[in-house]
Amino acid sequence: MFRILIQMIMAFLATLAFAVLFHVPKKEFFYCGITGAIGWFFYLLVRDYINSIILASFVASIVITVVSRFFAVNRKLPVTIFLISGILPLVPGAGIYYTAYYAFAHETTLAVAKGIEAFSIALAIAFGIMLIFFIPQKVFLWGSKWGKK
């Protein structure tokens, strides 16, 4: 439990740091961080209990997209702001790096394995995002000031 908490704090920091590097408006740093932390929590949950990185990325990207669409509607901002920052911990950055690294080291088998893994993770994330984008905007207006008007 303690480990998960530490991980979530780290995910919060990672997301927040990238929010700064992407020049997100200052007021939104906290919400970006929260998005990342919640996403990472679900990622860990699925990864540890079902033991599949790809499924974990899929579930976590669904959660992150829901959360960022919710923030986007409530704070009247484009969803990208929360989505790009929040999705970052999931994104197969290390996978891409390893793929290229092994390819240069002539370790073709490893390179292909890592490459396919990175690509599947990216696919899973994209699928998760798309799935939530099919839900109409109205659903996310629920409970917000904007929705009541």
Partner: protein
């Protein structure tokens, strides 16, 4: 405007007067349409340049044009360019093409344009005011260098930890991240080409990591380097490209995918070359 009224008064016959009047109104509207068109293009350009999604670019441009009374506007946007045609009252009006390089991500500007388009729809801006506001948005400054360097360190450390590094590794990654961004900012100010910037940056950060590791800091060199270069890795571009392809924007998706491959290759060139050099000359 004085001239316009004179013209109308001087027209002798009723029929022709109506006709002329229409043409004059048409002219005034048409003059405004030029401005509207420039405004719409500028908004799209700022959005695309600063990393907005493809569909948002088209949508926002259409929303702004319609708010100012243009009935028909067609936008075709790809990752590095916008094509836009405006039709006025069924007649052909004009087309503009704009090439937009994608290098920066500045989500603050995207948010600002989004906000502006919403306020334009509410009728809060005249065309001139909107144009001024757009120029202000285009010049919203980047975060301070100090902040960027510090948060690059934080990001590197946090990612190093998330990707399986120990606490010591992530502390070393923090320092590497600082050094990396010092170089990136240096390279940005001198306008290095993207590939060179990333290749040299990753070589440089690998060098720092090796030095620190050799001095006895950190547990695993691999994890330190992964954490340190994470700020350069095009993970978002990869995900975006697949999203674009799902959306049917095959061209944009391909452009981003190629970009991802290029950046990934330059990172690994930088890292591998530095590791090899170290092996050959030092150990």
């Amino acid at each position: 405007m004085g001239n316009v009224e004179d013209d109308i008064v001087n027209v002798p016959e009723v029929n022709e007067k109506d006709n002329c009047n229409n043409i004059i109104i048409e002219n005034i509207v048409s003059e405004k349409k030029d401005q509207i068109f420039d405004l719409v293009m500028r908004a799209g350009e700022i959005l695309l340049y600063n990393g907005a999604e493809i569909f948002r670019v088209g949508q926002t441009m259409e929303i702004i044009a319609k708010a100012y009374g243009v009935k028909s506007v067609d936008v075709y946007a790809v990752s590095n360019g916008i094509f836009c045609t405006m039709n006025v009252d069924g007649y052909f009006f004009s087309t503009q093409i704009k090439e937009v390089p994608f290098e920066t991500v500045h989500l603050g500007r995207v948010a600002a344009v989004n906000n502006l388009s919403r306020e334009i729809v509410m009728g809060k801006y005249t065309i001139d005011e909107a144009m001024e506001e757009l120029e202000r948005i285009a010049n919203i400054p980047f975060a301070k260098n100090r902040e960027r360097i510090f948060f690059a360190g934080v990001g590197s450390a946090a990612f190093g930890y998330l990707l399986g590094g120990s606490v010591y590794d992530s502390l070393v990654s923090f320092i590497c991240g600082l050094f990396l961004y010092i170089f990136i900012i240096f390279a940005e100010e001198r306008k290095f080409p993207k590939v060179i910037k990333i290749a040299i940056g990753s070589a440089w950060v690998t060098f720092v990591a090796i030095i620190l590791f050799t001095l006895g800091f950190g547990d695993s060199l691999d994890h330190i380097i992964i954490g340190a270069i994470i700020c350069l890795v095009p993970g978002v571009a990869l995900t975006t490209s697949i999203r674009d392809i799902f959306n049917g924007d095959y061209l944009s998706g391909t452009i981003h995918l190629v970009d991802t491959l290029l950046v990934a290759t330059s990172i690994s060139v930088g890292v591998t070359v530095m590791l090899k050099l170290w092996e050959v000359f030092v150990s």
